[in-house]
Symmetry: C2
Amino acid sequence: MLKHWQGHRRLTRRVIEAFPEDELFSFSVGSMRPFGVLAMELISMGAPMVRGIVTGDWDSGTREPRPRQEVLRLWDEGTIEINDLWPQIAPERFEQTITAFGQFEGIVHDLILYVIDNEIHHRAQGYVYLRALGTPPPPFYERH
Amino acid sequence: MLKHWQGHRRLTRRVIEAFPEDELFSFSVGSMRPFGVLAMELISMGAPMVRGIVTGDWDSGTREPRPRQEVLRLWDEGTIEINDLWPQIAPERFEQTITAFGQFEGIVHDLILYVIDNEIHHRAQGYVYLRALGTPPPPFYERH
């Protein structure tokens, strides 16, 4: 599951990287949120979800707009934190029911899956924005 | 995995259903494929993937445009076929390496996951199209 997720995270990072800096927190289609806002949402859900599962600390951090390089830096920090914390999730922990971030009740396995699905969902929004901006997005199937 | 996928399939069905009939195979953003074309791709990958895994028959069916009701009918047929065939996938089968549709080599588990991820990805494109058309898409978190 970690390997699968980190493959997706590498692709999402490429989409953030491909996004024109001046459009990251301004461009949108159909009055939806700009991709930078979505990327900050993903950052506030990924590592914080794993941290919460392992430590019980449910702080989700900031979602304020910032330069693309800063978004990428936070992304990379999250990647390292997820890799570091993951081995501390015991197999039986994945089956336990918890309340994430004080409001989302669910089985640990399903909560992590929701974070991954949400990342795929919002990243795809980024694909459409990139196409609308005339920037080719990275191939969906490349995860290395 | 089946339960998770069928939750996603219920949501994707709602997005097809919400799409205006006259825009299904024509509307797009950034020169991407219309949502009807994407829905037909998903139909040609979902049940056919499971059928191939179980029977070795890798026919992926047609992708021709058709009325929304026909797309939904094919979707529902796929849902039933997936449910019927799934119990025939033995636990050890999920770990085997196969070549799907004569061209995609991978472990069965990963191939099914790819089909699910691809569905989330293209459905999210449909979300943006719907928003651009002024039609509110169904909530992402509702899977019942």
